[in-house]
């Protein structure tokens, strides 16, 4: 090996300077990468302020008996914190991913044990008189919101279909399009998403087919263009983006019940006295609040719906 000439050796101050320069680069670079990784895992909301959108529904009936005496959550919160496992299992990412859902054209096939099965176009469903209903919404994950839905009672549709005497249950099915529902392979539950109600639950005046919220058409992440809302049951019963409604004589299979039968029953009524096997249902975090509040029996709709379950053991039929 050749000994370097004295003049070839980098002078110490220059060497130290270079080292500091490299170190500063490493420092800044690593910090930037860490920061970007953090941001990548915290998707920004794609919020649209409600006033930017046109009022799409004309005069809405606002019936006083369906106005929960509470302040609704903001449009931004309602449209950026969603469970829609077909698109993402992250509640903050659904708003972005669900924009891929194609809602035009849309139709809902109603059949099974009815006298006049038929397929409704979305416009035909929007021709039912639409009204605003402010409901509490309680997720099985122990958070809740207050949402000003727009829609019409499911009973109005079912009355038109004239269910036969054998019809005891109503089954619902969500649209399933693998090409846009990217999360459906890893979500850990089966698709298409299916749900069901007993026919007396389906005919209850509180049970709503919702076509919008905050006076405008249903945002995709909230289950566009038409979804079910059953305010006294955990949120996952309120199936989104419905394409099929079938009347049956047997209790229909339901998605979360198939995934974990011990954790999610067919009824899934909001009930602070029956805990989820893994967590408590006694309290909930209302979105926008810091501490937890008490969960109400049947989500506060006890007076209206308790009769449906008279004599039933609600611990057995959870």
């Amino acid at each position: 090996m050749r000994t370097p000439d004295r003049k070839e050796i980098t002078p110490e101050p220059l060497y130290l300077n270079r080292r500091n320069f490299i170190r500063a680069g490493v420092f800044a670079g690593s910090a930037a990468v860490t920061g970007l990784m953090y941001r990548a895992y915290r998707p920004d909301s794609i919020a649209v302020a409600p006033e930017e959108a046109p009022q799409s529904f004309g005069e809405l009936t606002k019936r006083s008996e369906f106005q929960a005496n509470e302040t609704p959550n903001s449009f931004e919160d309602i449209t950026n914190y969603n469970n829609f496992y077909e698109f993402s299992t992250s509640k903050t990412a659904v708003a972005r991913e669900a924009q891929a859902l194609k809602t035009d054209p849309w139709s809902v096939e109603v059949g099974g044990l009815v006298e006049s099965p038929r397929t409704y176009s979305l416009q035909e469903l929007l021709n039912f008189p639409q009204e605003e209903r402010i409901y509490r919404f309680r997720c099985v994950e122990a958070w809740s919101m207050v949402i000003p839905w727009v829609g019409f009672p499911l009973a109005a549709l079912l009355d038109q279909m004239r269910p036969t005497a054998e019809a005891k249950y109503v089954a619902f099915e969500t649209a399933y399009d693998r090409s846009v529902m990217q999360s459906s392979f890893s979500a850990g539950i089966d698709f298409p998403y299916v749900e069901g109600l007993r026919i007396d639950e389906a005919l209850h005046p509180l049970t709503l087919l919702a076509t919008g919220l905050y006076g405008r058409p249903m945002p995709k992440q909230n289950g566009a263009p038409i979804r079910l809302v059953v305010p006294w049951k955990y949120g996952f019963k309120s199936i989104k983006s419905i394409v099929r409604i079938t009347l049956t004589d047997k209790e229909p299979p339901t998605t979360w019940n198939i995934a974990a039968p011990r954790e999610y029953g067919f009824y899934s009524n909001v009930n602070p006295n029956v805990d989820h096997p893994r967590w408590s249902q006694k309290r909930e975090r209302r979105i926008g609040e810091i501490t937890m509040r008490e969960t109400l029996m049947f989500n506060g709709y006890e007076k209206e719906v308790a009769d449906l379950y008279r004599g039933m053991d609600l611990e057995k039929f959870y």
Partner: protein
């Protein structure tokens, strides 16, 4: 500053960047509709990241001879404990309103809470004995034996995460795979050391 200390600075700063961004987002209302849940989840995930980082030091030394990392290991472990404490405090205050009876009831009733609490309680003596004085007092052998509990902490942490997920096991599985890989490397070196009749320990590789 020598290289070991510079590395320690880099690792420490990067480990705290998520906390800084979390606090910034919290202060400016950017944690989404359910900020408490987000903060809770993020500090939990950061605990697991730091636990795995701590357990990565030895495999990296064995695989690549990066002995310089040993000088950062204690700090990484303490950062795991710090994130874990933040996680626990957040849960206690915001989910349980600081009600000790409610917390004890939760631990008794909810297996996933019990597993998480167990992880914290096992971590506690490790954090307390992380000083040079404690190492001297315990003796290196005993200290090392005690701190092998960090494996248990990591397993409990991943199990805790796995148990709370509703159906999408992607992230818990990611941590579980990472942990299994780290254990695998350790076991491999342990077996090799046994075969060569060495005491299982760190084989220093000449550079």
């Amino acid at each position: 500053m020598d290289n070991a200390r510079f590395l320690k600075l880099i690792l420490g700063v990067n480990a705290l960047i998520p906390l800084g961004l979390l606090l910034f987002d919290a202060a400016t209302g950017r944690l989404g509709a359910n900020p408490i849940e987000y903060f809770l989840r993020a500090t939990g995930v950061m605990t697991l990241v730091m636990l795995l980082a701590t357990l990565t030091v030895t495999p990296l030394r064995k695989l690549f001879g990066w002995n310089i990392l040993i000088k950062s290991r204690r700090m990484l472990g303490l950062l795991a404990f710090f994130y874990c404490s933040t996680h626990l405090v957040t849960y206690s205050i915001f989910d349980k309103s600081g009600n000790l009876t409610a917390i004890v009831g939760d631990v008794a009733q909810r297996p996933f809470i019990a597993v998480g609490m167990a992880a914290f309680l096992v971590m506690l003596p490790l954090a307390v004995t992380s000083t040079n004085g404690a190492i001297k007092k315990l003796g290196g052998k005993n200290w090392q034996r005690l701190h092998r509990l960090s494996y248990l902490v990591a397993i409990l942490g991943v199990v805790h995460f796995w148990m709370i997920v509703k159906s999408d096991l992607y992230y818990p599985a990611l941590f579980a795979t990472g942990l299994a890989l780290l254990f695998g490397i350790r076991l491999f070196y342990r077996q090799t050391a046994k075969k060569e009749g060495q005491k299982p320990g760190l084989a220093f590789r000449p550079d």
